[in-house]
Amino acid sequence: MAKPLILVTMGTNDYPFTRLQQAIENEPLYHDPRCEWFVQTGASEVSSHPACGVVEKLIPRADMENLVRRSALVISHCGIGSLNLMLQYKKRVIFVPRVSSHGEFSDDHQLQIANEIGNRRISVVYPDDQFPSLNYQQLCDEELLAEPVDITNYDLAQVVNFKLTG
């Protein structure tokens, strides 16, 4: 059986996200060869590599989509690009909003968007929360969606089309 993939994405912006980097490196499954990890670090650096897996700064969007499709769990900063992909593939997600008080962004808009996500598959780890412990068996049992669900708001797209060309 294939190893369950845990995807970590910290986005494409220029701020480091040390809190998330430390949280995943403290996670026992990070050092467990039964799990595969892919860590997209952006402006952060990891101090240790996972027992099994890859660490990259940035990857093309299509590669990211492939990884999202394959992953049993996504651990992500609370960016809109990440959120879109996770929703399309109905992923179980642990969102960690970047906050300005830790130098992780210029403002706290990721906290605001985190508050708006009413989705049962997505849990949010707020700055004072303990990072949840991961369960290997739960990762193995996760069902993977082969094709994305279309979540585009076509009503808005039609309005934009009309405004641009009408």
Binding site: G79, N84, L87, Q112, N153, V160
Partner: protein
């Protein structure tokens, strides 16, 4: 100026770009992207121009203004669309100068107030249409329209 059947889309990489792709999903014209990174390999855009990010040095806007003039001269778009971030500002200014229609959709990530780019575009009237993605933000301003978020944040999505 004779215009080409091209819509120029200006969107920073990541979330801004994702929203721009959703919001332009029904546009029939050729879409040409201007972004700060080129991590795309899909079919949504016919061409991609990269310009420098302004996050750490606002003077880059001046350089980008020159690059924007060159892009506009080459593409001659019939309209422009942006979801931000700040890289859109020179294009918004030139849209006004060159009388090219400019439609701005403020980013979904700003739940309680407009983004900084959105505030500037609103303040100086650098738009033909201004949309935002939260009703509470639209209610704070006159002339801003609200039609929901670029994609569904709920549990299901369309099947």
């Amino acid at each position: 100026m004779a215009r080409n059947p091209v819509i120029l889309v200006i969107a920073s990489s990541g979330g801004h770009l994702t929203q721009a792709m959703c919001a332009t999903s029904t546009v029939a014209q050729e879409l040409v992207l201007v972004s700060n990174k080129n991590m795309l390999d899909g079919k949504h855009f016919a061409r991609v121009y990269t310009i420098r990010d302004t996050q750490h040095n606002p003077f880059i806007h001046i350089l980008n203004l020159l690059v924007a003039v060159r892009i506009l001269r080459k593409e001659k778009p019939e309209a422009m669309f942006s979801t931000g971030g700040p890289i859109c500002l020179p294009f918004a200014l030139l849209a006004k100068l060159f009388r090219v229609r400019f439609v701005f959709l403020d980013t979904m990530s700003r739940v309680t107030e407009l983004s900084n780019s959105g505030k500037l575009i609103k303040k100086f009237g650098l738009y033909d249409s201004f949309l935002c993605q939260w009703s509470s933000v639209a209610e704070q301003h006159s002339g801003i329209e609200y039609y929901g978020q670029a994609f569904d944040l709920g549990d299901n999505g369309h099947q």
